[in-house]
Each structure stands twice: as structure tokens, then as C-alpha cells.
Amino acid sequence: MENLLYIALFSPLVSSLFAALFTATPKKQFIGIIASLLIFTSFVSSSFLLAEILITGTPVHVEMMTWMATGNLYIPFGFVVDQVSVTMMMVVTLVSTIVHIYSIGYMDHDKGFNRFFSWLSAFVFSMMVLVMSDNYAGLFIGWEGVGLCSWGLIGFWFHKEVATWAANEAFIMNRIADLGMLIGIFLVYWNTGTLQYDGAFAAFATLDTATLTWIGIFLFIGAMGKSAQFPLHTWLADAMEGPTPVSALIHAATMVTAGVYLVVRSNELYDLIPNVGLFIASLGAFVALFAASMALVNRDMKRIIAYSTLSQLGYMFAAAGLGAYWVALFHLMAHAFFKALLFLGAGNVMHAMHDELDPFKMGGLKKKMTATAVMMTLASVALAGIFPLAGFFSKDAILESAFVEHHFIIYSVLLFTAGLTAFYSFRLVALIFHGEERYKLFGIDPHEAYKFMLIAMSPLLLLAIIAGSLKMTYYEMVTALLPATEYHIHNHLVYWIMTIGTQLFVILAIVYAYKKYANSKVTVPDGTSAMENSFGYKLLINQYYIPYFYEEYIVKSYRELSKIFWKQVDLKIVDATVDGIAGVLYSTGERTRDMQSGNLSTMLKWMVAGTIGLLSLAVVFGLAVRYSDAILAILSGLGV
């Protein structure tokens, strides 16, 4: 079993290093194939591990070697495959395998082809480390590693200014959160004496709530960065500058869910601190709504999907925060499938449209790209949570859990968001695939993607459809590790009303979206319509002015402050003080050197003056000694 684990873990690394060897050479098709094969190997191994877990129910735990050991600190490279991590492994390896294969076609004409696979495989490796590690430090390795790969892949087209800017933004924002994570890790270490999950979890029970709260908060801050929760969310939309397969893999299916994974992994911690859990859930609900609202009006296909991702992450956090860890994980999995599918479909569209991203400039593409249209529509249905697709089961479970836990505000927010989700998803589908063929105005001749790309996408389609049926199997497996909270609304009537009501609400939203955007009247907006000038629209299209705020007030002031620190403080104060001391010494010498006038008479006068100075001192001293008693008497009289 260990060997399987190592194969699952290291074949992405091998793939990455292999591709890295060729980064400086021209594109070679076989690199993509070999990389995909290696990732597939990893997937197969993961599957075997999954089977093992399903059968035996015992986790596989290995300790490869010591990483850091000093003082009382002992951190090994330890890996564990248990019910939670194997879920993540499956998701990661499956989606990555598909994305790898897809990328062979998608990146066909890019001269950074080899480099792309190197980065992509490296990402898979980092992600595997993240999910498989048996301690927080190992998790942090993966955590940072995926951040690095994300940086490299967002900025993959490094000649584009926006891409590199977005890459740096993503990296730095993640770093801000990583600091929280790091502090969380420190807290864990100094309070439990270990960073191993099992040891730490065992020790948590003995700690006081305040400490645990702090640990929970700081770890969650880390999760907020990776999962792009408010207020660290802006990087995710900007990250869409990267190649679309990257968006599919990293910014939809895997990396951004790492935060959820962390919370789920630390469930024993968050179980002890329900207040923090509630906060997480509330924030999740807020982000779900907040992101969905921005998706409503956006005119960038990928960004819309990105906001949708953000929104769904909010759902996951809401679930995890409420203690429904397995639900969060299940939604994570389901979401990975349909969201990756959505992105890959968007990639096809982008290819067809020559990297055009504005859905208003598309329309009626279903004739040219039927397969893609079907896939994206089904993915959107799944996303909207229509029975019997994957989204229905997972999202419904979240709503139920919120309802059962009596957090009705969260429940209603999430319910409302579900409607929004349906609306923006089908707004997108409608704009792209239905209505007039507006792309003709721009002289674009779209074509369907390579067949093997479509075939590669098909497993995702399948899973997006059927994943829901696996719910109970999954539940049984994963609750071996996670709290087995099953949410059943005991009143059947209420349950049915709720379910059907939700479905109706969602379908209503879909219909409305179709009505509004799938007709021939839709034109490319030119910024003159009343809606486009309304306050609400502006607020949403500008993302609540948050990026503007960050740029104007944080980035700029940081830059200005840096300049001031350098030009004013460092050069004009600190350094000038040093030079000033030297300067004062020098100029004192320069000014007093006239004492040496070279005139003998002056010299003699100096000598005499010196003597007289001494004499005066002597007299003062002599008098003071002689009359010391009197002086003391006077001084004491004066009260000194």
C-alpha cells in the first residue's frame, strides 16, 4: 500500500521534473502525453487506495523521513491516506488527468507547451502533498507549493502585463493568509508540542477555549486566502488571466478548495469552537451571495465562472462552519466535477472565439459547437442544483443542514443565492449558445475543439450527472473519520415543500435568464443603456469598488510609503545621521584648524592662554577647597 501511496504522490513530481528538462526546448507533443500518463498513474494508484479504504476502512499512514528536527520540534515527511484525503486525491488526480489531456490540445500552439506541463504537474504534486500530509507543516508545504504553481501558471503568459500582475497579486494575497496559517501552526505547536494531526487533535481536547479559538481563527485566515474568501477574494477573478485549463484545475476544482479541506481536516478543532464555526458559516453565506451578485452583470465569461466558484466556496464554508463537514466535502467534490467541466467548456469556446471573452459578442454558438454546448448546459444545470444532477444533492444537503441547525438567515441567504446562481449560469449559457450569432459582426469563424479534448471532458460530464447518486456510499465511507451528522428534516411535508420550492425557484430563475438573454434582441452593450448606468450595475460591475479600493488605498499607499521610507527616512534621516556625524567631525576640524594660524605669536598666545585657563581652574578649585565648609554651608542653606 505504501508503494501505491508513493506512486500516487510522486508520479506528478516525476512528470513535472521530466517536463522541466525540456522547458528550454521547442514544443514536444510526447511530453504532454507522458505527463498525462504519469498523472493518470497517480489517479490509478489513488483509485486503488480508495478501494483499499472502502474495503478495509483503515487509513494508510507512512512516514518517509525526517524533515526538521530541533529542540522539541519534530516534523517528518509523513503521509496519510484516509477517507478525507483519499477523496481529495481522487478529485485532484481525476481532474488533473483530464486537464492534462485537455491541455495537450488546448496548448497545442503555445511555445511554452513543455513549461506548461512542468508547472501543471508540479501543481498536482503540491496539491497531493497538501492533501496527503499527516501534519500541518507538510500541509503548509503543499499549501505554499500550490501557491507557487498558481503564480507560475497565472503568469504563464508572462509577456502579458495583466497576467504577471494577477500572478503576483494572487501570490501576495495568498501570502497574507499564509501568515495567518503560519501563526496558527505556531500556536498548535506551542500548545500541543506537535504538528502531527493525530497528536494535535488529541491534545486539543485539553486546551482552553480561548487558545483554541485563536488557533481556529488563524488557521481559518489561511483558508480564507487560498479559498479566496472576502476580503481576500479579488485575486481569484484576476487569476483568470491564466490559461483556461489552469482555471479549471486550480481556480475551480482543486486549489481554491484547499481552504475547505483545511477546515474539514481540522474538524476536531472546529467542533470544539462552534462560535468560530458560526463565523465561518456566516462568512461563507455572505461570500456566496456577494460573489453571485458580482457574477450577475459581469461581461467576462471566465470571470463569471470564477465568481460562481467563489460563491460555491461560500456554500462549502457555510456547510463546514455549521459542522456538516462531510457535506462540505461532498459539495467540494461535486463542484469540482461540474465546475471543471464548465471551465473546460469555456476553454473550448475561447479557442473557438479566438480568446474573445465577452459573451455578448458570441451568441448562437450551439450550431457550431454542439458538444460543448451540451456539456456546458449540463454543467450549468448541475451547478444550479437541478434534480437529479450532482449539484442538487450536494447543495440541497447544505441548505438542509443550515435549516436544521436553525440558522435561518444563513439558510435564506443561501437559498436566494441558489436562485442567483441559476440566473447567472443560464445567462451565460444563453448568451453564448443561444440567440443571434453576434460573433459574425466580429468576423470570427468558430470551430469545435479537438475530439480528444471532448472525449477527455466526458468523464467529468458523467460525474457531474451521476455524482449525486454516490451520496450515501460516500457518506458511509467518510463518516468513519468525520462527524456523522445526517440532516433529516423530520417533518416530511416540510422537506418536500422545501425541496420542491427550491427547485421551482431555481427553475424560475433559469427561465427568466433564458427569456432575457436567449432572444434575438440581445445586442452588444455599449454603455448607454439605463441599466448600465444605474448605481447597482456600476457597483456590481466594479466589484463593489473593492479592487479599486485596494489599488488606490493599499497598493498605492504601500508604494508611496516605500518610497518615503527609502528616499526620506533611509537616505535623509538614518543615513544622513551617520554621514552627519562624520560631517560634523570633519567640519569641526575644518573650522577649528584656523587655531593653527601658522603665526608664532598666535601660537605663543595659545600657550599662555592654556596656562591661564589652567590657572583659573586651579584658583577656582583652590578656593573651593579652602572654603569648602563655607560653600557647603551656603549650599545647604539654599536647600541644595
Binding site: 512516514e63 524533515w67 529542540g71 522539541n72 519534530y74 507549493g145 509577456h159 501570502r175 504601500y558
Partner: protein
């Protein structure tokens, strides 16, 4: 020979340098490489002969110099100094091997060999005066390197470097003399031997003053804010090789001295000054990182980043526990490797373009992919990416200090953010975007000689990031004994609490590792 290996390590380069005067200048580089290879081999031998399980000094040598005044030539090496010595040998080798065609290459190599003598001497000396001798002597070759091969402001920079450090260390000398005097008062014998001083327990009030005196000398060398302003000039003006050695080894003298002198000699004062120094360190970390962000010259960015990283080292040192101190020593090595490599990398582009201004570059990744890759690796190491060498040190340092203060560690942790900001910004300016300057279109990628220097550094960066144990193990042993010494010597209650008792501590934890796997 193994008994005198430290003396050999110290004086072999010096003797070789003297003989270097008679070598013809065309053969000089080969000679220099040969000498430094031998020196490096000797250093490696030292490592192999070193017993990692012993926490105390090894390979001790003692020759009386001024016995009536207690000055003896005492050498010894423990886990703390061992790796810095190896690093010094390694960087001299790399420096000489990658030396580009400068004028007066003969003088340069002779100077470098002398510099090597002083560097090894500082880390091997166990007598305060001998330490001081090498400490001061190291200024001279560096002065010459900056002053003779540097940029337009080289004279200002070199003189500033020399005088600033010189002034600081003179204050330190006064401190040393005081220390010896206290030892004399206590025992009736003059001694400057550090190991003798370790046995002396001073009253806290004395400790405070002496600590301050030593601090000035060390802080300027490190350099700590606000004594850091010589560094940007020195780096900015120095030739590549000068910057490399300055950053990789010379700065480490200061932090090494903190661990060798300040902590074990003045445990109470260390606790007393812990917060002020930590605050200075945090200012160093954040402030200089911001200043680095504002720089226009890529070398200055790396220079200020050095200061920022040194802040983390200081913080780790003043964690006063095994984790922090081990981490800071490891970070010294890590920072040596990484900043040395970064300066070499800056030198690569400087050799080609004769400018270091970032606005002159842009899009270099198109024409110099290998260069960009290696730079990227070092960049990631510099920002403390896990599985690179820097992370281990940074993580341990911050982890260690967390025990002392949560808030300050949180502030210091900003290092990982601000560090990423300036580094990524610089990388973006240099390597990303379209090529805007025609001069950059036909730049050659790194050549073999440069790779010869950079590849080993990259390998070390990753290797020790993944598997730090061979270095961390010996460090840990020596640090444990130092922390124990501090704990035993501490007189104030607070210090007793702040400095952990290692012997007790070992019993508690050490989660049994599943070594069977």
C-alpha cells in the same frame, strides 16, 4: 594534521596568497581555483571528521600568545560554526571559479584568499582577542575589493563600510576588555578565552552594559536597523564577488557573534533586551523590505532584502530557545547560499548589460530562460518557499520566537508578505513583459562558468530545504548545550522562565517517530 585542521584551514589560504604574488597573472585563476578547491576539500574533511553527537568544541587548539595578559590562540569548532566555515570555503571557491575577467585578477584572487583566512578565523576562534583580530582584519580585504573594483561611488562606500564597522567593533573591544577584567576580578587570572568566560556569572547590571557594548559591534556588522545604511552602499558599489562574500559570509559574523558571545555570556541581559531587539528586528524586516520595494537597482533590492532577512535571523536568535536559535543558525547558512546566489545572478546580468537598473530590463525570460529559471528558484528560496533552504530557517526562527511573544511574531511574520512583494515586483520588472530595450534582444543565456557556480547553489538550496537534517542535527546539539548553559547561568527569575531548560524539555516531547517505515 587532523589535530590542527583548523589552523590549516585558516592559514593555508593566507600562505597560498603570499605565494600567489609570484604566480604569473595568466595562471592566477587556475591557482586560485586549485587553492580554494583544496581548502574546500579540507573543510569537507572537517565535516566528515566532525562528531555530530558531541555538543561541545572539537578540534581544539591552544597556543599561548600573550599568556601574561590571558590572550591565547584558541581554536575550536562546534555545530554552530562548522557549517559557516564550510560555507566560507565554498563561497570562496565559487567566487574564484566564477570570477569574470576583471582587471587585476591577480590582486583580486590574493585578496580573496586573505579574506578567506579572516573569515575562517573568525568562526574558528575561541579567544575573544583572536576573534577580534580576524574580525577586524576581514575589513581590509573587503575594503580593497570594494574600493578597487567597485562602482563609481566605491571609495565612499568602502570607507563608510570600513569606518562604520571599525567604530562599532572598537566599542565591542572595550566590552571584551571589561569582560576580561571581570574575569580577572573573579578568578585573579586574565583570560580572553570564551569558554572560560562561559563559566562566569555576572550580576545583571553588569550584563546590561556589557551586552550593550557587544551589541553595538555586532549590530553594525549584521547590520541591524538603524545601523544598516553602510550595507546598501557597500553592496551597490562592490563588484559581484565582493557582494557575494559580503552577503554570504561577512554579515554572518555579526549574527554568529550574537550566539557565540551575547547569549551565553549575558543570559539575563539577553532576556532583558529581548523585546527592544525584537522590535528593532521587526523594523528591520518590514521597513527594509519596504525600502527594497522602492529600489530601482536590482542589486539594491537584494541588498536590502539581506537586511530584511538578517532581521529574521536576529529574531530567531533572541527566541532564546533551541528551535529559534537553531533556526537562526540554519537561516544564516540559508541566507548565505541564497543571497550569495542572488548576487551572483545580478552579476550575470551586470556583466552582460553593465547596468543594474531594473527599468533597463524587462522580458528577460524570453531571451534568458535558464537564467530566469535559476533566478526564479533563488527568488522562491528568498521569499521562503517551503522545501527551499530558507524556509527551514525562517520557519524555525519565527516558530522559536513565537514562544516569547505572539504579537511580535505576528508582526515579524509580515516578512513573508513583504518579502514576496519586493521580490516578485523585482522579478516581474526584470523578467516579465515584452522586451522593450533593443540591447536586451540578443543577450546570451548563462554560460558554463556561471552555471558551474549557480547549479551547486541551486542544488544546495533544494537539498537542504528538503533534507536539512545533516546540518540541523549538529547545530541542534550545540545549540541545546548553549541554551542549557544560558538557563543554568541565568540569575533573574524572568530569565529562568524565558530560557527553557533543555534537559527537562527533552523528556517531555520528541514524538516517537515511526522510523520503521
Amino acid at each position: 594534521m587532523i589535530d590542527h585542521i583548523l589552523s590549516v584551514l585558516i592559514f593555508f589560504p593566507a600562505v597560498a596568497a603570499v605565494f600567489g604574488f609570484i604566480i604569473h597573472k595568466d595562471s592566477m585563476r587556475a591557482y586560485g581555483v586549485a587553492v580554494s578547491v583544496i581548502e574546500f576539500a579540507l573543510a569537507l574533511w572537517l565535516w566528515f571528521a566532525f562528531d555530530s553527537n558531541v555538543s561541545g568544541m572539537q578540534f581544539m587548539e591552544l597556543i599561548p600568545v600573550v599568556p601574561s595578559f590571558g590572550i591565547n590562540y584558541i581554536l575550536g569548532v562546534d555545530g554552530i560554526s562548522l557549517f559557516i566555515i564550510i560555507l566560507a570555503a565554498f563561497f570562496t571557491l565559487i567566487g574564484i571559479a566564477s570570477l569574470t575577467d576583471t582587471k587585476n585578477v591577480k590582486n583580486m584572487i590574493i585578496t580573496l584568499l586573505f579574506l578567506q583566512m579572516t573569515m575562517v578565523g573568525v568562526f574558528a576562534a575561541l579567544d575573544a582577542i583572536i576573534f577580534y583580530v580576524f574580525w577586524e582584519l576581514s575589513l581590509v580585504p573587503m575594503l580593497y575589493i570594494i574600493g578597487a573594483w567597485g562602482g563609481p561611488l566605491r571609495i565612499y562606500a568602502s570607507v563608510k563600510f570600513f569606518l562604520y564597522t571599525f567604530a562599532g567593533s572598537l566599542v565591542m573591544l572595550v566590552g571584551m576588555l571589561f569582560m576580561a577584567y571581570f574575569y580577572y576580578q573573579a578568578t585573579g587570572v586574565w583570560s580572553f578565552a570564551i569558554l572560560d568566560w562561559y563559566r562566569l556569572i555576572l550580576p545583571e547590571s553588569f550584563q546590561l552594559w556589557l551586552f550593550a557594548a557587544f551589541f553595538i559591534g555586532f549590530a553594525i556588522k549584521v547590520p541591524m536597523f538603524p545601523f544598516h545604511t553602510w550595507l546598501p552602499y557597500a553592496h551597490g558599489q562592490a563588484p559581484t564577488i565582493g557582494s557575494v562574500i559580503l552577503a554570504a559570509i561577512l554579515l554572518k559574523m555579526g549574527t554568529y557573534a550574537f550566539i557565540r558571545f551575547s547569549l551565553p555570556l549575558f543570559p539575563d541581559a539577553s532576556v532583558f533586551y529581548m523585546y527592544p531587539i525584537a522590535i528593532l528586528a521587526i523594523i528591520m524586516i518590514i521597513y527594509t523590505a519596504m525600502v527594497a520595494y522602492a529600489q530601482e537597482d536590482v542589486k539594491q533590492v537584494v541588498a536590502y532584502s539581506s537586511v530584511s532577512h538578517m532581521g529574521v535571523i536576529i529574531l530567531g536568535t533572541f527566541a532564546l530557545n533551541v528551535e529559534g536559535i537553531s533556526g537562526s543558525i540554519f537561516l544564516m547558512i540559508a541566507h548565505g547560499v541564497v543571497s550569495g546566489a542572488l548576487f551572483l545572478l545580478v552579476g550575470v546580468i551586470y556583466d552582460r548589460r553593465h547596468t543594474k537598473m531594473m527599468d533597463q530590463f524587462g522580458g528577460l525570460a524570453h531571451v534568458m530562460p535558464r537564467y530566469a529559471t535559476i533566478f526564479g528558484i533563488m527568488l522562491m528560496a528568498s521569499v521562503g518557499m517551503p522545501l527551499t533552504i530558507n524556509f527551514v530557517g525562517e520557519f524555525l526562527s519565527l516558530l522559536g520566537f513565537y514562544q516569547q511573544s505572539h504579537t511580535l511574531t505576528l508582526l515579524a511574520g509580515v516578512a513573508i508578505i513583504v518579502g514576496a512583494i519586493y521580490m516578485l515586483a523585482a522579478y516581474k520588472k526584470m523578467f516579465f513583459g515584452e522586451i522593450t530595450k533593443d540591447e536586451n534582444r540578443n543577450l546570451k543565456d548563462v554560460n558554463k562558468r556561471e552555471l558551474l557556480a549557480l547549479i551547486p547553489l541551486s542544488i544546495i538550496t533544494i537539498w537542504l530545504g528538503v533534507y536539512p537534517k545533516p546540518v540541523l542535527g549538529p547545530i541542534n546539539n550545540s545549540v541545546e548545550s548553549i541554551v542549557q548553559l544560558m538557563h543554568d547561568k541565568a540569575t533573574s527569575v524572568e530569565a529562568k522562565i524565558r530560557i527553557p531548560n533543555v534537559i527537562e524539555g527533552i523528556v517531555i516531547t520528541r514524538t516517537p517517530a515511526g522510523e520503521a517505515h
